[in-house]
């Protein structure tokens, strides 16, 4: 047999063809541990599957990778499904992976645990962020499917317990790929237009797959961001979803949510009755106490002996009058003393006092005081006043200039 020399490309292409013809390699399932997991900006995922002794290169193209519901991590045990293909350029073969399932747990379970850990880390489940529920919400928004038993159970129980609350249904799909954005959108819408005082969101029971919308990160974030308190009500008692963790309150079922949301009118009527009883009892007691005080007053002296009461008041009055008079007298004496003092100072200023000290006052005709020798002439008649009388005098001589005092 003649041996032909091949190019590298020819050989690699030949092997590619050969492997491509084996149907077993067209759809192969292989178990191993993930390592070297890389996500490229193109959206393709590259990784190596390995066991104790061997390793296998794998690629998952963007289309298949986008269907992953959890985040593959190095070290995770997985089962990869796909076809084997030769990469002609490098002369290597790799598994073109179309599905990658975690071992042990289902992929949804893994996704659930991963999202729970992530959101918990971010603080979305923190107690401190949880809002108290209104005691008597006037309006309750129910975000669920408008078909199905859940919505009817809730409306029935709300109506029986507390018909005063208005029920506002925001119908959404609760299953399928449209469900998470619809639920999250309805929660945001209820907040934007403030349509309610309380939100209940959830659905009846089902498989983990059925409840999946309530394990969606978008729904979780919408619940977290809601200003209106949210009750999460998903599935049956043992089902716990991410929504349950992030909501302000978790209800075990939709019916339970309706019970949590509103008070029971029967209990309220009993409470009202007890208020009635208490206020009547308190009022009766007040009346009794008032009656007792009235009796006690009746026995007091002022009422039993009004004459004695008046006598004692009269004595008080007399005492007061005495005090008043005494005070008036004291004031009068003080005024009198002041008057005497003022009289004395007036006296000191009097011209008569000056005359008593030896001075005399000379006056001319018409009684005008003479302040100067000028204008006087020999023979003029003047009057000189003394302390105790006056003398009519005639001027003998006038001498000017000497003995000037002051001005």
């Amino acid at each position: 047999m003649e041996r032909r020399t091949l190019t590298v490309t020819e050989l690699n292409a030949y092997v590619k063809d050969l492997l491509g013809q084996d149907p077993a390699l067209m759809n192969v399932c292989v178990r191993g541990e993930l390592s070297n997991y890389k996500i490229y900006p193109s959206g393709h995922h590259y990784f190596t599957l390995k066991d104790q002794e061997s390793s296998l290169k794998c690629v998952m193209f963007r289309g298949s990778a986008s269907k992953l519901r959890y985040r593959p991590e190095n070290g995770m045990g997985v089962t990869a499904t796909g076809r084997l293909e030769v990469y002609v350029r490098d002369g290597v073969y790799q598994l073109i992976c179309t599905s990658l399932m975690p071992e042990g747990m289902g992929d949804l379970q893994v996704a659930f645990e991963q999202l729970k850990a992530k959101l918990s880390e971010e603080g979305l489940f923190d107690r401190a962020h949880k809002k108290p529920l209104p005691e008597m919400p006037g309006r309750i928004a129910i975000i669920t499917s408008s078909a199905g038993a859940a919505v009817h159970d809730m409306i029935r129980i709300l109506g029986r317990r507390w018909p005063m609350s208005k029920v506002i249904l925001l119908p959404v799909r609760v299953q399928g790929v449209e469900a998470p954005p619809e639920i999250a959108g309805a929660i945001r819408y209820a907040n934007e237009f403030q349509v309610a005082d309380l939100i209940i969101t959830g659905r009846g029971g089902g498989s983990l797959e059925d409840l999946w919308a309530f394990n969606d990160e978008r729904v979780a974030r919408a619940i977290y961001a809601s200003q209106i308190p949210v009750i999460s009500a998903v599935g049956h008692e043992p089902d716990v979803t991410i929504s349950d963790y992030v909501a302000d309150r978790r209800a075990s079922t939709p019916s339970n949510a309706a019970e949590i949301a509103v008070p029971d009118q029967q209990e309220m009527r009993e409470a009202l009755e007890s208020y009635g009883i208490r206020s009547r009892q308190a009022m009766e007691k007040s009346l009794r106490v008032a009656a007792q005080r009235l009796d006690a007053l009746r026995n007091k002296r002022v009422l039993t002996e009004p004459g004695a009461f008046l006598d004692s008041r009269r004595l008080d009055l007399d005492r007061l009058r005495d005090r008043l008079l005494a005070s008036e007298e004291r004031q009068l004496a003080e005024k009198r003393q002041r008057f005497v003092k003022l009289g004395a100072s007036l006296d000191a200023m009097s011209p008569l006092r000056v005359l008593s000290r030896g001075y005399a006052l000379a006056t001319g005709r018409e009684g005008k005081p003479l302040r100067s020798v000028r204008g006087l002439a020999k023979g003029d008649e003047i009057t000189v006043r003394f302390q105790d009388g006056q003398a009519a005098c005639r001027v003998e001589q006038v001498q000017e200039g000497e003995e000037r005092y002051g001005r």
């Binding site: 408008s146 409306i155 507390w162 018909p163 005063m164 029920v167 249904l169 009527r269 206020s279 308190a282």
Partner: protein, 76 residues
């Protein structure tokens, strides 16, 4: 006055009144006035419960995005 108050407000006021009355430190005329107010609140609360009729609506996003209320028809 009492008619304008919500059930919750009425209940709160009622609670306040009963506590006040039970303290028993008010003049008799004030107590009587409170008692009368409490009695009328009780009556209006009971009436609100008796007359309440559940309203259920379905919300639709209107043309301008604002909510529109539709009657809720049983689809079960």
């Amino acid at each position: 006055m009492a008619d304008k108050m919500s059930f919750e407000q009425s209940l709160g006021r009622l609670d306040e009144i009963v506590r006040h009355l039970e303290k028993g430190d008010l003049p008799l005329s004030d107590s009587l006035a409170l008692f009368e107010e409490g009695t009328s609140l009780l009556a209006s609360c009971s009436a609100m419960l008796d007359e309440a009729e559940q309203k259920v609506v379905k919300l639709r996003k209107g043309a301008d995005r604002s909510p529109e209320e539709l009657p809720f028809t049983d689809e079960a």
